[in-house]
Symmetry: C2
Subunit: 193 residues, 2 copies
């Protein structure tokens, strides 16, 4: 969990008065502060705290993106995604977590990893930091080791098609779409191998 | 809040046993289900429910994107963003909400609106649907009507520069970056006006 308090408890116009954690789950917790707002009134500001996660864009030597189609309980539907995993039970680097998730979710390995960057997934309601990692020359040469909740199909899709799915909204998962579009400068030219 | 239950309470391998709402805030609530998982064990699945939101990409007649720089309590820092707002206290369409937020946050108006599409911001932990709306020919001809919590600067940035900020991660807000990158096909050529 990130610590966002300044030593004096004042955050640009907001003064934090108290902090509670009214709900905790292994993936996130709710933080509820009592705050004096910039206009002087006192009220709550609640948001989600989470350890963050990594999204992996895996590209094979023949310029295919390894996409997954995963069933998601929250929306009761299948989702096009890239492999991903959270830091809630992992303490290594974004690339180390990306390696683990690529192996576990699709049975993939790579010797060519790049930490493309990070982003904030929802600055009004969650404090987590998400990371994007690009893996090139990916081989699907292991057995996936999925968790019981992971219902996953693996699909190989040409780079241009994967980018089109991200840009058009056909890939409804915003994290996966952003990860692909932020990798686009690194992917240009790979489709011509 | 979306209703994700099938009539028989079974969601592809998960069977929902009970539902509670252990925490409610005006921006979101926590839903906690007891679930029989695909492998047969029984345990909780908790996630955030939220009414969703809209992100507006406002472009002026002279090919500038109206960006905002907003101070965010969750991360104790300034964020580059596009104007946005939630459906938690609004019942109209995405374009109607986009019109309201453009006017309130930056004092902007437009006669040229396009609902570019939607996405899911976090399919493992939240059920909300987010929308992207493009506004062209934007004029900054009103006084903004901001809420007490909104500490906002307005900046006009050329289209190519705004897209570069989104793609490079300089724009750390993932929603705003994805909104800009998904609008890119509609923006090509506008910089040559």
């Amino acid at each position: 969990m990130s610590e966002t308090d300044k030593p004096n408890g004042i955050i640009l116009g907001w003064q934090r008065l108290t902090t509670d954690y009214p709900y905790t789950y292994h993936m996130f917790r709710v933080r509820q502060d009592q705050v004096r707002w910039p206009d002087g009134h006192v009220g709550p500001y609640a948001y989600i705290q989470s350890e963050g996660a990594v999204w992996v864009v895996p590209v094979t030597a023949d310029a295919q993106v390894v996409l997954i189609r995963q069933f998601r309980y929250t929306i009761d539907d299948w989702c096009w995604e890239v492999p991903a995993g959270g830091f809630h039970d992992f303490t290594g680097s974004p690339i180390a977590l990306a390696k683990q998730e690529l192996a576990e979710e699709v049975g993939g390995t790579s010797d060519d990893w790049l930490h493309v960057g990070s982003y904030r997934p929802g600055v009004s309601t969650i404090d987590e930091i998400c990371h994007i990692v690009l893996a090139c020359g990916v081989r699907l040469d292991r057995e996936p080791q999925r968790e019981p909740s992971e219902i996953i199909e693996v699909h190989l899709v040409p780079i241009a098609r994967a980018l089109e799915m991200a840009r058009s909204g056909e890939m409804v998962d915003g994290h996966s779409a952003l990860a692909l579009l932020r990798c686009e400068p690194y992917l240009n030219g790979k489709g011509r191998h």
